[in-house]
C-alpha cells in the first residue's frame, strides 16, 4: 500500500465527504428518529394515546371498512393495532383519488378526530429514504447514491486512518477543537463501523428493485406482477361488479391463522370492498424474528375460503427479507430499538465531526488567502447539523402549538407543520451565513430552547406531563419522547457553554478537561 494510494483515498474521503456529508447527515438523523417513528406519532397525535384493549376483536375494524366502502375506494388497508401503534389505522383512496389516513379507536371502532399532522411515520420516516422529494422519484436515487457513498467513505476512511489500533480509544476533548473533532470522528467511525456498513448495505438492499430494475426486467420483462407472484406470492383478481357483504373479519382472520398455525396478522388489505369478488390479503406479524418475512394469505371476502397462501419464499427473497429486517427493526425488541437509536446518533456524530474537521482545518488558511470555501462549507455544515435539529424541533413545537383543525390561507394543519420545518431549516442557513464563527453557539441555545418548549407545550396542551406519563404504562412512548427532548436540551446547553469557552481566544483549550 504505497503513499499514493493512501493519498488518493484521502482525497476521495475528503471530497465525497464534503459534498455529500450534509445529505448523509439528514438521512442518518431522520433514520435515527424513524427508529421511534410510532412513538413520535403518539406524541404528535394526542388522541391516539390509547390503551390496547385486552380482548381485541377484528370486528372492531368493520366501521373503518364501512367508511372506506362509503368513500367508494377500490381497496382499503386496515392496520391491526399493536402495542406501539394502539389505533386502527385505515388507508384508502378518496373520490378525488388522493390517499387518506384515518384513525379508529381500538376499543369501540369509532373514528378518532383528524390529528392534522403527518407525524413521525408519514413525514420523518419517508424523509429518511426519499427526502420527501417526489419528483421523478428523485429522492430515492439521491438517497441511494448517498448509501453507496457512505460505503465508499467507510472503506476509504479505514484506509487513510493511520493508527487504527493505537488510536482505538483515543479521544482528547481537552485538546484544540480540531484535534478533538478528529478524535471523535475516528472513535465514532472505527467503533461504530460494523453498524455504519451494515445499515448502508441493508438500506440499498431494501430498495434493490428500484436501484437494479434491470435484474427483474431481464427475467420477467414487463410483467412486474409475475415477479411479485413468484418471489413474494401475491394474488390478484378483478371485481365481479355484483354487490355483496364482507363476512365477519374474525372469521377471515381465523381462516388465515389456520394456515399459519400461530401468530396474528399485522394488516388486513381488503380489495374490491362491497363486491362479490372481494378478497382480503393478510400478513402475519413478524415481531418475534429478525427477518421482515411476510407470510401472506388471501381469503375470499364473501365465502371465507382460502384463495392462496404464500409458500416459503425462495432463498434469495429470504436473504433479502433478513437484510431488510435488520434495517427495518419492526420486531418487538426494546433493547435493540434503543441500541439502534444510539448507534444512529453515533453515525450522526461521525458525519458532523467529519464536516467540522474539514472546516476547522481550512478556516484560517482560507481566510488568509481570501477564499470563501471554508466559509460556505461552514454555513452549510451548521445548517445541516444543528439546522436540521432545529427544524425537527420546530416541526414538533408547531404540532403542539397549533390548535386542532387550524389552517392558514387555506393551508391545512399538517402542511403548515411541514412548511415550518422547511422555513426553520432555511432560516438556520441564513443565520449560519450571517454569524460565522458564533453560529454553532447560537443554534445550540436554540436547540435547547425549542426542546424544552416542546416538552412544556406537550404538558400544557395535553396534560400528559412527564410525571404522569412515566406513571402510566400506555403513555411510556410519550414519556420517552419527552425525556429524550430534555436530554437533548441538556446536552445542547453543555455544548453551547463549551463552545462559548472555546471561542474565547486563549487558555480555553488547555483547561477544558479539568473542569468537566
Amino acid at each position: 500500500m504505497g503513499p499514493t494510494f493512501r493519498a488518493s483515498m484521502n482525497w476521495l474521503h475528503t471530497w465525497s465527504g464534503v459534498v455529500l456529508g450534509s445529505l448523509l447527515f439528514a438521512i442518518f438523523w431522520m433514520g435515527t428518529l424513524s427508529v421511534f417513528d410510532k412513538e413520535i406519532d403518539r406524541w404528535m397525535m394526542p388522541a391516539s394515546r390509547l390503551a390496547l384493549p385486552p380482548d381485541f376483536s377484528y370486528e372492531t375494524m368493520r366501521p373503518a371498512y364501512l367508511a372506506a366502502l362509503a368513500a367508494k375506494s377500490p381497496s382499503v388497508l386496515l392496520l391491526v393495532p399493536n402495542q406501539r401503534n394502539p389505533v386502527i389505522t385505515a388507508l384508502w383512496r378518496g373520490p378525488d383519488g388522493s390517499f387518506a389516513q384515518h384513525l379508529f379507536d381500538p376499543g369501540t371502532g369509532a373514528e378518532l378526530p383528524d390529528q392534522g399532522t403527518l407525524g413521525g411515520s408519514r413525514f420523518i420516516y419517508p424523509f429518511h429514504y426519499s427526502l420527501n422529494l417526489k419528483v421523478l422519484g428523485l429522492g430515492y436515487w439521491v438517497v441511494g447514491l448517498c448509501g453507496m457513498m457512505m460505503m465508499v467513505l467507510c472503506v476509504s476512511g479505514v484506509v487513510i486512518h493511520r493508527k487504527i489500533f493505537v488510536d482505538f480509544f483515543t479521544f482528547r476533548p481537552e485538546r484544540k477543537i480540531r484535534r478533538a473533532t478528529l478524535d471523535l470522528h475516528n472513535v465514532a467511525g472505527v467503533l461504530g463501523l460494523p453498524f455504519h456498513v451494515v445499515i448502508s448495505v441493508s438500506g440499498l438492499v431494501i430498495l434493490f428493485s428500484l436501484y437494479f430494475p434491470s435484474s427483474i426486467w431481464a427475467v420477467y420483462r414487463q410483467d412486474a406482477r409475475l415477479f411479485g407472484r413468484e418471489a413474494y406470492g401475491s394474488y390478484v383478481r378483478p371485481p365481479a361488479k355484483r354487490a355483496a357483504d364482507l363476512i365477519s373479519l374474525d372469521a377471515i382472520v381465523a381462516k388465515a391463522k389456520s394456515v399459519w398455525g400461530q401468530g396474528e396478522p399485522n394488516y388486513l388489505y381488503v380489495f374490491n370492498p362491497g363486491d362479490s369478488a372481494s378478497y382480503v390479503q393478510l400478513n402475519r406479524a413478524s415481531a418475534d424474528v429478525v427477518s421482515n418475512i411476510s407470510y401472506v394469505a388471501y381469503v375470499d371476502g364473501t365465502t371465507g375460503e382460502l384463495l392462496s397462501a404464500s409458500r416459503p419464499e425462495k432463498p434469495a427473497a429470504l436473504t433479502q427479507r433478513f437484510i431488510a429486517g435488520l434495517h427495518f427493526i419492526q420486531f418487538e425488541h426494546w433493547t435493540l430499538r434503543w441500541l439502534y437509536f444510539v448507534l444512529g446518533l453515533a453515525g450522526c456524530v461521525l458525519i458532523a465531526t467529519g464536516l467540522l474537521f474539514w472546516v476547522e482545518s481550512r478556516r484560517d488558511r482560507h481566510r488568509r488567502l481570501g477564499r470563501s470555501g471554508a466559509r460556505v462549507v461552514e454555513a452549510v455544515t451548521v445548517a445541516s447539523v444543528t439546522g436540521i435539529l432545529i427544524a425537527t424541533l420546530a416541526f414538533m413545537v408547531t404540532n403542539r402549538a397549533l390548535p386542532a383543525g387550524a389552517s392558514v390561507l387555506g393551508v391545512e394543519r399538517g402542511a403548515i407543520e411541514v412548511s415550518v420545518f422547511h422555513l426553520a431549516w432555511l432560516l438556520t442557513l441564513l443565520h449560519a451565513w450571517a454569524s460565522t464563527g458564533r453560529a454553532w453557539i447560537g443554534q445550540c441555545w436554540m436547540i435547547s430552547g425549542l426542546a424544552s418548549l416542546a416538552v412544556l407545550l406537550n404538558a400544557v396542551t395535553t396534560g400528559d406531563h412527564l410525571i404522569k406519563t412515566i406513571a402510566t404504562p400506555q403513555l411510556w412512548s410519550v414519556a420517552g419522547v419527552d425525556a429524550t427532548l430534555l436530554i437533548a436540551a441538556f446536552i445542547a446547553i453543555r455544548v453551547a457553554l463549551r463552545l462559548a469557552r472555546g471561542a474565547r481566544p486563549d487558555a480555553a483549550s488547555l483547561q477544558g478537561a479539568d473542569q468537566r
Partner: protein, 92 residues
C-alpha cells in the same frame, strides 16, 4: 445489564493494555509484556462471554445482533470514560 458490565470491563482491560492508555492511568508505571498479554486475553474473554449469555437469553437470531450493537456502544463508552477520567494525565 450484566453483559454491558462485562463488555465495559473487557474493553477497559484491552484499552489499559495499550501503553499509551496505561501510562495515563498508572503514573510512572511500567507494563510488563506478560501482564499485557494476560490483560489482553482476559479482555478478549470478557468480550466473548456476553455473546454466550445473549445467545442463551435472546436466542440465536437476536442474541448476536444485540451483542454486536452492544460491542460498539460499550467500546464508545469506554473511550468517553477514558477521555474524562478524573486525575488521568492527558494522552499524547
Amino acid at each position: 445489564m450484566i453483559t454491558m458490565a462485562l463488555l465495559l470491563a473487557g474493553w477497559g482491560l484491552l484499552a489499559a493494555s495499550q501503553p499509551r492508555q496505561f501510562n495515563r492511568l498508572v503514573h510512572h508505571g511500567r507494563l510488563s509484556s506478560r501482564a499485557r498479554t494476560a490483560m489482553r486475553s482476559l479482555g478478549a474473554i470478557l468480550l466473548l462471554a456476553p455473546l454466550m449469555i445473549l445467545m442463551r437469553a435472546e436466542g440465536p437470531s437476536f442474541g448476536p445482533l444485540v451483542w454486536a450493537c452492544l460491542l460498539s456502544i460499550s467500546a464508545m463508552a469506554v473511550a468517553l470514560m477514558l477521555a474524562w477520567l478524573p486525575g488521568a494525565k492527558s494522552a499524547t
